[in-house]
């Protein structure tokens, strides 16, 4: 799926979620969760403060912020700039709280956030890299369901697999990705 098509898919899903569509909302949250985790992990690694627990906390904070502020998203605009704006704000907020602790040092946080390598394209390369570590069939099914927005039935028809097989592959792929992201692999 092209980046533009993915942007359109996410924007439409979020617009449905704003109208109360729980299935669409789950799709959006599952899709952006990996992106947020990668972005947060990258920032923490750049400033030498990577910790799986902190990255996970940041991810949860951002997901909660997305939920609380979903009314500020303009459905006619791409979703990712809105998401990255919230993520950057939450990371800066984390840095501000940490600075108040006398033993904490977050030197370089602003520079890390401002660096061009932390663009959407950079995170997208990470996402592609981490997906490439999955077995081919698993990656194919995951991309169809979670990135291209196909239903389980459509993905099953395309891959000649049963629907239950597709569900199992997606579940395993997400579990593997969470584990890799938590360990900071492929970044």
């Amino acid at each position: 799926m092209s980046r533009e098509a993915r942007d359109v898919y996410l924007a439409e899903a979020m617009a449905k979620a704003q109208r109360g569509d729980q299935a669409a909302y789950r799709e959006v949250l599952e899709s952006i969760r990996v992106i947020i985790k990668l972005y947060s992990t990258r920032i923490l690694k750049r400033i030498g403060r990577y910790d799986p627990g902190i990255a996970e906390d940041m991810t949860q904070d951002v997901l909660l912020a997305v939920h609380q502020k979903r009314h500020t998203y303009d459905p006619s605009q791409p979703l990712l700039p809105w998401l990255f704006s919230i993520t950057r704000y939450k990371i800066i907020d984390y840095g501000r709280r940490e600075r108040r602790r006398p033993t904490s040092s977050l030197e370089g946080l602003e520079e890390a956030l401002a660096a061009p390598v932390l663009s959407e394209a950079g995170t997208e390369r990470d996402l592609a890299a981490i997906l490439a570590t999955l077995p081919a069939r698993t990656r194919e099914v995951l991309e169809m369901v979670k990135l291209e927005g196909l239903s389980v039935a459509e993905a099953a028809a395309r891959t000649q697999l049963s629907e239950s097989n597709v569900k199992v592959l997606v579940h395993r792929a997400l579990k593997t990705l969470r584990g890799k992201a938590a360990r900071g692999e492929s970044l």
């Binding site: 909302y25 969760r33 500020t72 998203y73 303009d74 919230i86």
Partner: protein, 212 residues
């Protein structure tokens, strides 16, 4: 790690996407109505209204303040909408409006013909204008702050500065409908200084209030 997502999905309810333009327009309209009501029912209209209504420089000074009011409010609201494109022009416009206003104060003095000398413009009674300007800016400021806090401010310092500019412009527009002085010293000191100070003060205080 699906538990947090499950909880968020269960908590989902429909929301209405906010429009930065509608919120800005609503605030500008409210601030204008409040200012007009304050002048009409409390302070009283300026006594030289009949003369100045044909004064181009008076209208230009008012126009500069209106420009500051609208662009500062728009900037503050846009900085409260994550991902909103804020052009360099929008960031500069409120400051440019402020500078233009101060320039127009001087032009008003030069063109009015009855402004008096600068020393008389600095009479102590002029402080009542500064106090009234500040007082008239409070309610519009609280309203705009409420709007912004209900959004998601991603640049608290910049948004607070814009808030201060919008508040100051609202107060200055209202007091401009009451105060009949065209003396540059009076306008620059008792109207202009509060206008310039308000963004500085509100930036210091407001950036903490706008965090979420």
């Amino acid at each position: 790690m699906s538990d947090p997502i499950d909880a968020l999905v269960r908590d989902l309810s429909p929301v209405v996407p906010r429009s930065s333009l509608r919120i800005t327009a609503a605030w500008v309209a409210s601030a204008t109505l409040f200012g007009l009501a304050s002048v009409l029912f409390i302070l009283g209209w300026r006594s030289d209204w009949i003369e100045v209504r044909f004064s181009l420089s008076y209208w230009l000074a008012g126009g500069a303040l209106a420009l500051t009011l609208f662009t500062a409010a728009r900037l503050g609201i846009c900085l409260s909408m994550p991902g909103a494109r804020v052009s360099p022009g929008l960031r500069l416009a409120p400051g440019a409006g402020l500078v233009l206003t101060l320039v127009m104060f001087v032009i008003l003095h030069v063109t009015s013909g009855n402004a008096g000398d600068l020393a008389t413009g600095l009479a102590a009674t002029g402080w009542s204008c500064s106090v009234a300007l500040a007082a008239l800016s409070i309610l519009p400021g609280l309203l705009l702050l409420t709007f912004m806090r209900r959004l998601a401010v991603t640049e608290p310092a910049g948004a607070a500065t814009a808030l201060g500019m919008a508040m100051g412009a609202a107060g200055a527009m209202a007091i401009g409908c009451h105060c009949d002085s065209t003396n540059a010293a009076h306008l620059l000191v008792f109207h202009g200084v509060p206008l310039m100070l308000m963004p500085v003060v509100i930036r210091l205080v407001g950036k903490r209030l706008l965090r979420w």
